[in-house]
């Protein structure tokens, strides 16, 4: 297969992935402001975060200047995302499997970034020795990523099947997602071993894509791997596997949202409070006519 097949396929998948992911991200972000529901620890609290303290510990806190750190939440999330802190702390048996799985994903993502960099180096005719260094790094990242990811996906799939604590909560989608990812990783690993210079071949493929080379071809089994990976990326944004987006909101917009009302929020809140409600219980009986503000008024007001 040559011509523009691969370009349409890969860029098409990328476009769908980005559009759907951005759409879903905006949909979450545009949900109305909610009541405060923070949960300790909130890492940005300077001097207090290490034990889970908040600004509410200060006498007459509203008169004090808050001391916050912008770096601490980033570091907290970096440890959470890269090392899976919560699973390490609370579910140690699961940690090796899920750590291998997630590290595999991160390494394959690194491999993709490096392939793009290699393609740029090739287009700009950078010296072969520099390119070789990057190709070696790409190759190592690819092999480690595919092996760790494949091992993680297969072991998590087996754990889901055989662990009685997990089995009751499984769905077809949960099995399918892991099996699909395992197939992507295994096809990648197979390509790495089957193709004499995997990193160079992959980088040349990426070069063909970014330069819109219509003579672009791809050898088997890399073609199979690219097709599987593309299909996965097409599927991903429609599933709950985009929890990397959701996680931003569950942490920053809920657990760590202890922000004090400003004029903009007050305006939004006042609009929400005047919306009609239709809860039917005897003590509410809103019938779509009363608003939140009406419901909280005293009967003699």
């Amino acid at each position: 297969m040559a011509g523009i097949f691969w370009h349409i396929g890969v860029f098409g998948v990328l476009a769908v992935f980005l559009i759907v992911t951005i759409y879903r991200t905006i949909a979450i972000a545009r949900l109305p402001v909610h009541l405060r529901w923070e949960l300790a620890p909130i890492p940005r609290e300077k001097g207090k975060a290490k034990y889970g303290g908040s600004y509410l510990e200060d006498y007459e806190w509203w008169k004090k200047r808050r001391r916050t750190s912008w770096l601490a939440p980033l570091l907290y999330m970096a440890v959470e995302i890269l090392l899976l802190r919560a699973i390490w702390k609370h579910n140690r048996k699961l940690w090796p499997l899920t750590f291998a799985f997630h590290t595999g994903i991160y390494l394959v993502f690194l491999m993709l970034l490096l392939s793009i960099l290699n393609a740029i180096l090739m287009v700009t005719n950078v010296s072969a020795s520099v390119l070789d260094v990057f190709l070696v790094i790409t190759s190592v990242a690819a092999l480690a990523g595919y092996l760790l990811g494949g091992l993680g996906a297969v072991s998590l799939l087996l754990k889901r099947i055989f662990d009685s604590d997990l089995r009751a909560f499984n769905s077809t989608a949960k099995y399918f997602n892991l099996a699909f990812l395992a197939a992507v990783f295994i096809s990648g690993a197979y390509s790495w071993f089957a193709i004499p210079d995997f990193a160079l071949t992959l980088s040349q493929f990426v070069e063909g894509l970014v330069t819109l080379d219509t003579s672009l071809t791809i050898v088997f089994p890399l073609s199979l791997h690219v097709i599987l990976a593309s299909l996965f990326f097409l599927y991903l944004p429609f599933t709950d596997m985009i929890h990397f987006v959701a996680k931003y909101f569950t942490y920053h917009a809920i657990k760590w949202d202890d922000s004090i009302k400003d004029a903009r929020m007050e305006k939004e809140l006042n609009e929400l409070l005047t919306q009609p409600v239709s809860w039917s219980a005897e003590h509410i009986k809103a019938d779509g006519k009363k608003s939140w503000a009406d419901l909280t008024k005293k009967s003699d007001e």
Partner: protein, 537 residues
């Protein structure tokens, strides 16, 4: 009978309990509470009760008033109401208050079960399947996905997540929503930030706001009574004032210091809102703050306006409308008095309700500064205006961290700084601070006492807390060394009262419990006689 359950089992075998409490399966307690036979027996339902009451979850009934339909048509009515409530929970108009947190918790649970061992109820029960924090949430998630989303029925079949919405499901789900303390330890442990406690509260909300089902202690005799009469205790304004006046006199004599509690003082700096339950059940608490505020020369007042003398807000446990009503009343009273700030009494959920959860309902001139009693007390203790003699508190003291004050608000250290200063034998529990276990009465459970629910609270919900408490005093386990559990929260104290009575903790281990203010007053140089006593007068 701790068998593996499937999610769909909740809809099956309508009259039979899904599980039963077996005392031998519960997490063992330390000596002398480790002999199962010596524990107080769990009250089982009589045959008559089993016929009359809805009791198909775990053989425990938290609300005898739950309607038991006699006909299929009646069952369908409730099921339809539930389905309608599910849709309302997902709508911006009806549930903007928690829509974002709810949707994220429904859609993004990875089902890794990491949260399970963080739950003191699940662990305390000996890992009974029904109490997994994820079981309830997964039932709810599958119902939402099948019955409140387009194409849900087909997707449920394809995904093998089918679940039947019938009378059995909603009856069990109602009870199950009151087998959680809303302590949010599970949320803290979740790598995704999924909040099973929030899902539980949303379920309670659906039942309350759509079907009108809520425990009578929280609703009818809770928020409704508070809004109408002034307090869930039934205490009317005049009676509250009389009671405190009597207590002022009584404690003036008992402590050898003059006590006078001010009421309805316009333009005071501080409006202090205690819980009326403290005035009735634990009067040493409110009296301590009268002593401390007066000694520190603070311009303060209590309010006798309904419901300004009772800071509890059970709405935070089950109903957004009731939550907002109570919080708004409290803020309106403060505005009318023209105070500079509201200080919460020693009550965790009161703190959370008005300081954070209802913060976004109190807009404009109702947004009066609100402060924790703990930071307020820290300022008093370290201001130098009162002389303390810590040797008066020279007995082992440990601290219980109320979830709503500590885990949910991040008020962790002020109370510890006070205890380290005033109590030479202060020691921490393990785990402590924001990882502390709930007392077992959280989420409104401490005031619920229908049928055999108190037995469940004592045996299951409060088990890990009791274990943790006994472990903290393991160096002096017997009653010969007098020990003090500091629990700066009314609801926690109510739960401790029940557990202590149930297991005879004072008699067997020499532990009593009380608030933080009491320890401060007990250490005051000017207070001639001790406030904290192990023997009843």
């Amino acid at each position: 009978m701790n068998k593996k359950l499937k999610i769909a089992d909740i809809a099956k075998d309508g009259d039979k309990p899904l599980t039963e409490i077996n005392l031998k399966e519960l997490t063992p307690l330390p000596p002398p509470y480790d002999q199962v036979g010596e524990e107080t027996e769990f009250k089982r339902l009589t045959e008559e009760q089993q016929q009359r009451l809805v009791c198909n979850l775990d053989g425990v009934v938290s609300y005898a008033g739950l309607p038991k339909p006699r006909t299929k048509a009646e069952e369908k009515k409730y099921v339809d109401q539930f389905a309608s409530g599910l849709k309302k929970l997902l709508s911006k108009e009806n549930n903007w208050t928690f829509l974002q947190p709810l949707l994220l918790s429904i859609d993004y649970c990875a089902q890794c079960q990491t949260c399970n061992d963080a739950c003191p109820i699940y662990v305390g029960s000996g890992q009974n399947e029904i109490y997994r924090p994820t079981y309830r949430s997964e039932v709810f998630r599958r119902l939402v996905n099948k019955y409140a989303k387009p194409g849900g029925k087909l997707r449920a079949k394809l995904n093998r997540e089918d679940i039947e919405l019938n009378w059995t499901t909603i009856a069990r789900l109602y009870e199950l929503s009151y087998r959680c303390n809303l302590c949010r330890r599970c949320t803290q442990s979740c790598p995704m930030g999924v909040d099973n406690a929030l899902i539980t509260r949303e379920l309670r909300k659906l039942f309350s706001q759509e079907l009108g089902w809520a425990p009578k202690e929280l609703h009818e005799k809770g928020t409704v009574l508070q809004i109408d009469v002034g307090s869930p205790t039934g205490l009317k304004p005049s009676v509250a004032m009389d009671n405190l006046e009597f207590l002022d006199e009584e404690f003036s004599e008992a402590l050898g210091i003059e006590i006078k509690t001010p009421w309805d003082k316009k333009g005071a700096d501080v409006l202090l809102i205690h819980s009326a339950g403290d005035i009735i059940s634990f009067p040493e608490g409110p009296i301590s703050f009268s002593v401390l505020c007066n000694a520190a020369g603070i311009n303060w007042t209590l309010s006798s306006e309904i419901p300004g003398y009772d800071g509890v807000n059970y709405g935070v446990f089950y109903d957004d409308v009731q939550l907002a009503k109570v919080a708004t009343r409290h803020a309106q009273i403060a505005k009318k008095l023209g105070v500079k700030k509201i200080v919460m009494g020693e009550c965790g959920h009161q703190h959370k309700a008005i300081m954070t959860v209802a913060d976004r309902v109190l807009t404009g001139e109702l947004d009066i500064p609100r402060e924790s009693v703990v930071t307020f007390l820290e300022e008093i203790v370290f201001s130098g205006r009162i002389k303390f003699d810590p040797t008066k508190n020279n007995f082992p003291v440990t601290l219980h961290d109320p979830c709503n004050l500590v885990r949910n608000l991040g008020v962790v250290e002020p109370q510890r700084r006070i205890l380290r200063y005033l109590c030479p034998q202060f020691r921490e529990m393990t785990p402590a601070g924001i990882e502390n276990y709930c007392c077992g009465g959280g989420g409104g459970l401490s005031v619920m006492s229908d049928v055999n629910f108190p037995d469940w609270k004592a045996h299951v919900a409060g088990r890990m807390k009791l274990k943790q408490l006994l472990d903290a005093f393991a160096d002096h386990p017997g009653p010969e060394v007098k020990k003090y559990l500091c629990a700066p929260c009314l609801n926690c104290k109510l739960q401790f009262r029940d557990i202590f009575d149930y297991y005879k903790v004072k008699e067997r281990s020499g532990i009593i419990f009380g608030g933080l203010g009491e320890l401060a007053v007990n250490a005051m140089v000017d207070v001639k006689k001790p406030l904290i006593k192990w023997e009843d007068d």
